[in-house]
């Protein structure tokens, strides 16, 4: 008996084929993983099932009946619920209000009654929430529970979870998995979108793999292995970058000394951060999203003035200096949001020149020929698939990231700051970017890698610092780090001195 069948689904966004004739089926009472890399079309397929996108062609069957799903309302009426990656909660409203939103009939709304009804549902499904709390006061894990209960409250019997573990620390992941297993025993069917092989192997019954918008295949978990799934996912045997052994590291290039930042509301965003990045090493900063990483990057790149502390780059205190002064002092930046690192309306060559305009100046006028010549070289060096005259906004994420990196690395900075450098990139671009960072390390630069992707940190870093609520929980050599020990630090449970 199938809970859901999706037949020959095709969805295009402009020239991009996000789903190409994809078939998918979900049995009743199973946890079915939808596995694939970023951009493989997993989320698109599920957004079609939940009515957030409309397929260009294809059919959807629910409980062996063909259905039309044109909006989330249709999906809900067919018993489909979805917990999206970016939660769809209304922060100023209470938990109960969020859960009943759009799901209750009648004109009036009594806060006591909806809180009672939500409390009952919480009891029934064994998902603990506090109905009267405001959502904006909740942690990410708590918000996720609200989202799950919201779907169940609408009598969902098919629950789509889009990368539910991306925002959780390892210990919260265990809690989520237990809840899902219990719900499946009560008859729920779950679609679990992920690109993490270990998670898929841990809880799923079957796995469907997508690659580049196409279906690769569906396999029973029992008959497969992480290695097989990896091959299906990336389409070749080996992946990941080759890494040289740890080299002798040199003197510190960047020293962050008792750095703190308090925002306008008086909230401490960075608390007494002390770090050292040495020549020839990659220092990874791991942590769950929103624990001060963005603020740290802003302070280090001069976009925000720290409240206290020193940042010594090549023996110059750059705390509070302007971004251009920091660049000149030897910092090469790859910002967190690559769209913020480029000017979309300017061309590739203009963006490439942007950080070093002084070298292209000829009596106060820009030397366009020199810019073009340099751009052509950089485009070749960094394998950017674009011409110098293309507007940057027309480039793919990977090529845009290469523009950002080419620009900052061409100055041969002594310290390279890379914030979430591979987020949202496909495997090829990811490998390329990681390779470039290691190349910088081998050249003798100090690399500060701030990433929420624990695998990336463990793969690239020589030493790993963990940030939690704006504090550094400790710095450990990569060789001694395990996912578990880092997870405990990321959750703020243990400190390492």
């Amino acid at each position: 008996m199938n809970a859901v069948q999706m037949l020959n689904i095709t969805k295009k966004f402009g020239d991009l084929v996000a789903n190409d004739n994809v078939n998918f089926d979900l049995r009743k009472g199973e946890i079915h993983a939808l596995l694939g890399e970023n951009g493989a079309g997993k989320t698109t397929l599920m957004r079609i099932l939940y009515g957030l996108y409309r397929a260009d062609s294809g059919e959807i069957w629910i409980n062996d009946q063909p259905v039309q799903i044109n909006s989330p309302r249709d999906a809900i009426n067919n018993g489909v619920g979805m917990v999206t990656q970016h939660f769809t909660l209304v922060p100023p409203l209470s938990v109960a209000e969020n859960i009943v939103l759009g799901a209750v009939k009648g004109f009036t709304l009594n806060p006591k009654e909806i809180e009672k009804s939500v409390a009952e549902a919480s009891e029934e499904y064994g998902i603990t929430v506090k109905p009267s709390a405001l959502v904006r006061h909740l942690s990410v894990g708590e918000r996720q529970r609200v989202e799950i209960l919201k779907a169940l409250y609408r009598r969902a019997n098919v629950l789509i979870m889009d990368e539910p573990t991306a925002v959780l620390v390892p210990q919260e992941v265990d809690g989520l998995f237990n809840s899902l297993k219990q719900l499946v025993e009560k008859g729920l069917s779950v679609i679990f979108i992920s690109h993490k092989l270990n998670e898929v192997m841990a809880i799923c019954d079957r796995v469907t793999v997508l690659r580049g918008g196409r279906l690769v295949g569906t396999v029973e978990r029992a008959g497969t292995s992480e290695k097989d799934l990896a091959v299906m996912m990336v389409g070749r045997e080996t992946f990941g970058v080759e890494r040289q052994g740890i080299k002798e590291t040199g003197d510190p290039v960047l020293t962050v000394d008792h750095l703190s930042l308090t925002d306008e509301q008086g909230i401490d965003k960075l608390k007494d951060i002390t770090l050292e990045v040495r020549h020839g090493e990659v220092l990874g900063v791991a942590g769950v999203s929103g624990n001060g990483q963005a603020e740290l990057v802003k302070v280090l790149t001069g976009l925000q003035k720290p409240t206290n502390g020193q940042i010594i780059l090549n023996a110059i205190d750059i705390a509070g200096a302007s971004p251009s002064a920091i660049t000149i002092a030897g910092m090469g930046r790859t910002p967190e949001d690559r769209h913020a690192g480029v000017v979309g309306e300017l061309t590739v060559e203009e963006n490439l020149a942007l950080e070093s305009l002084e070298i292209y100046l000829n009596r106060g006028v820009l030397d366009r020929k020199k810019i073009r010549k340099q751009a052509i070289e950089m485009i070749a060096d960094y394998n950017i698939k674009a011409s110098p005259e293309d507007k940057v906004r027309t480039l793919s994420g990977g090529n845009m990231q290469k523009v950002v990196m080419a620009r900052s690395l061409s100055r041969n900075p002594s310290c390279v700051l890379a914030a979430q450098p591979t987020r949202g990139l496909d495997v090829g671009a990811t490998e390329y970017v990681r390779g470039k960072l290691l190349e910088q390390r081998d050249r003798g630069a100090g690399v500060l890698l701030i990433s929420e992707d624990l695998e990336e940190i463990m793969e690239l870093a020589d030493r790993i610092a963990v940030i939690y609520e704006g504090r550094i929980m400790g710095v450990i050599p990569a060789a001694e780090a395990t996912e578990e020990s880092l997870g405990l630090m990321m959750a703020g449970v243990t400190e390492h001195n």
Binding site: Y50, L52, Y53, S71, P72, R73, I76, M82, T84, F87, T88, L89, V90, P91, P92, L93, E97, N98, V100, L101, G102, A103, V104, K105, G106, F107, T108, L109, N110, P111, K150, R154
Partner: protein, 299 residues
């Protein structure tokens, strides 16, 4: 003093209507800069309807309906076509203002003396209550304005529809994913808002003046937008904001009569200056609806 309080309530009435309307619209995520024009059009349509039918309540109804239509027009532009809300709001104000001028000229020509109607009388039924009598001696619409404040609060916080409005104004994606028709909720909110604004404008012609002039609104619509911020999008606090503006307006009239030797323009400016100061103080922790000004379009 009693007279001052009574006058405060009178001056506050159109502001309460206008501000509650703007609040509805902004809680749903739409900044309606059309308010100034919609109030003027309401003032004119109310007046013209009463002039030709002789019924004051028909005038109020007509002003309300024309406000609802203007709200619908705003909704078509901002909700369905996703036009920039500043541009469409100012466009509505220009359009409604022009329409009111044009219709006035067509219907009344250019009379030497403005055409008059017999405006609402102040209620007498509570006028005998000892010292409060003069305060309670008000126009009927003033009572309705006071009544509307708790009603709006109740709708926003104690009804399903109100929950939907707050949700689409904060996070339309979430509302959409929860199965709410974001477009419809926003459109209805804008229509209700327009209705309130129209009645607020009509109060000026139908209650206080009894005739229509082109500068009758005199920036009250813009004051309403400031008062929404002052009220921090809370309907109950709208009342205090309107009272402050109304109180200072009533006070400056009396100050002018004391014969203090200052240019009268200074007194006229006083309520606006006080509004700016109050706004500056109150605006520090303003909690804007998160989706305000953002058109919603499902990908």
């Amino acid at each position: 003093m009693i007279g001052l309080i009574a006058a405060t309530l009178r001056v506050a009435t159109p502001l309460i209507f206008g501000t509650l309307g703007e609040l509805f619209s902004e809680r749903a995520g739409i900044l309606n800069l059309g308010i100034e024009g919609i109030m003027l059009l309401g003032a004119f349509v109310g007046f013209a309807t009463t002039y030709s039918t002789g019924s004051l309540w028909l005038g109020v109804l007509a002003a309300c309906i024309v406000g609802i239509m203007a709200g619908l027009l705003m909704a078509i532009m901002t909700v369905y076509f996703g036009v920039n809300q500043h541009v469409s709001g100012l466009g509505i104000t220009l359009f409604c203002t022009g329409l009111a001028y044009y219709a006035f000229r067509v219907i009344f020509g250019t009379p030497a003396n403005p055409p008059q109607i017999q405006p609402f009388m102040q209620t007498e039924f509570l006028a005998d209550v000892n010292i409060l009598g003069p305060i309670l001696r008000q126009y009927p619409l003033t009572y309705y304005a006071m009544l509307l404040v708790p009603v709006v609060w109740w709708v926003l916080y104690r009804t399903n529809f109100g929950l939907n409005i707050r949700a689409v104004g904060e996070n339309p994606e979430a509302a959409d994913a929860a199965g709410i028709n974001v477009y419809r909720v926003r459109t209805i909110s804008l229509m209700i808002a327009g209705g309130f604004m129209g009645v607020g404008g009509a109060f000026l012609t139908l209650s206080t003046l009894g005739f229509f002039t082109f500068d009758i609104i005199a920036g009250r619509g813009w004051v309403c937008i400031a008062l929404v911020i002052f009220a921090n999008w809370n309907p109950i606090r709208v009342l205090w904001g309107a009272f402050i503006f109304g109180g200072v307006s009533a006070l400056q009239l009396r100050l002018q009569l004391t014969g203090i030797n200052l240019p009268y323009e200074l007194f006229l400016a006083l309520p606006y200056v006080v509004t700016i100061i109050a706004l500056t103080i109150a605006n520090r922790n303003a909690a804007y609806p998160a989706a305000l000004l953002k058109p919603y379009k499902r990908e």
